[in-house]
Amino acid sequence: MKRKHQRMSLLGLAALAIAGAAALILTAFEDNIVFFHSPTDLVTKEFSPTQRLRVGGLVEQGSVQKQGDGVTVRFVVTDTAESVPILFKGILPDLFREGQGIVAEGTFRNGVFQASEVLAKHDETYMPREVADAIKATGQWKGDE
């Protein structure tokens, strides 16, 4: 084989490998990578009470209550089908509010999720409060509140 032909066939092989990699990544995304469980998973599947889990969902409207000790918060996350009560002791992130999406990490026992960490997810919209209020007033609000 000539040197030039060798180079061309090597380039061809490399291109083939890259195409294969792209195909594998696409199949991987079809399988839906699980970063957290939905409340439905928690209720329907069996989990060991010591196993650490992540649960993600929307905070149910009107469900956030401070407990008697002043630091523990109890709220409910839902995926609209099922909902799970969460107990969390600590400081909640500023973006935590009813209707917002959150991810909590902890253990699930006796139907209650004991969270050791609660993370809030932010969206990519930035606007002043007055503008947000004005949009809400005209009824064109498409956000999460």
């Binding site: 180079r7 090597l10 990699a21 199949t27 699980v34």
Partner: protein
């Protein structure tokens, strides 16, 4: 192709004659893993949870350990320049050297990994996935490491520099390797991270030989 297989055979013969390298790497791998129960305490729950990650980190360090020898001896005695001048494409020769490196250091790690999983109280459902993830991941480590090894040829404090260059590039393989093992232990689907590890390997196969060959050319010029 002939010259590549000849080179591969030479590398393997050298490794077997000297013998020590594979054994040393495996011993290092086992020792690092064994240090963890002593460091974090022998509680089975904690060990089972961090076990996948510990084995992966130890595998990265073990792969690093032997990496700086990949081209250095050939560079010192001048045979690397002969490889550059050889009629066969340098990329293929690099691939042959990397294959030899993986057969002598990566493969032994995979073989002993179930034993280490046992020591760390990993639940048996994770053994197969751990071995599969290492089988897909360690060749990528050898390929990426080859770039670093070629770049640091003749550098001052080459070994330290090599880890600074290569360990950040190992991070994707580490993330998906560990998440495959964790998924298997949590009874989640471990197929997606394994597929991504496979994709990483294909990408490394396609790109790393070119980069390493370019680095070798500029080192010997």
């Amino acid at each position: 192709m002939n010259s590549a297989t000849a080179l591969l055979r030479r590398e393997l013969r050298l490794a077997f004659r000297q013998g020590g390298d594979s054994l040393l790497v495996v011993m290092f791998f086992v020792l690092v893993v064994v240090l963890f129960p002593l460091g974090v305490g022998p509680e089975p729950g904690i060990l089972a949870r961090i076990g996948g990650g510990v084995i992966w980190v130890a595998a990265l360090l073990a792969a690093m350990l032997s990496m700086d020898r990949l081209f250095q001896t050939d560079y010192d005695d001048g045979s690397l320049e002969l490889l550059v001048l050889a009629p066969a494409p340098l990329e293929v020769l690099v691939l042959a050297k990397v294959a030899a490196h993986w057969l002598t250091t990566g493969l032994p790690l995979i073989i002993v990994s179930p034993l280490l999983a046992l020591l760390l109280n990993l639940s048996p459902s994770g053994y197969g996935v751990l071995a599969a993830a290492l089988a897909l991941g360690t060749p990528s480590l050898s390929l990426i490491g080859a770039i670093g090894a070629a770049l640091t040829l003749g550098a001052r404090r080459g070994g330290v520099l090599l880890s600074l260059l290569v360990l950040p590039l190992f991070i994707p393989a580490l993330i998906f390797g560990v998440s495959a093992v964790d998924a298997a232990l949590l009874d989640l689907n471990s197929r997606p991270p394994l597929l991504i590890l496979g994709a990483l390997l294909l990408l490394a196969l396609a790109l790393c030989p070119w980069a390493a060959a370019a680095a070798i050319r500029q080192a010997t010029e």
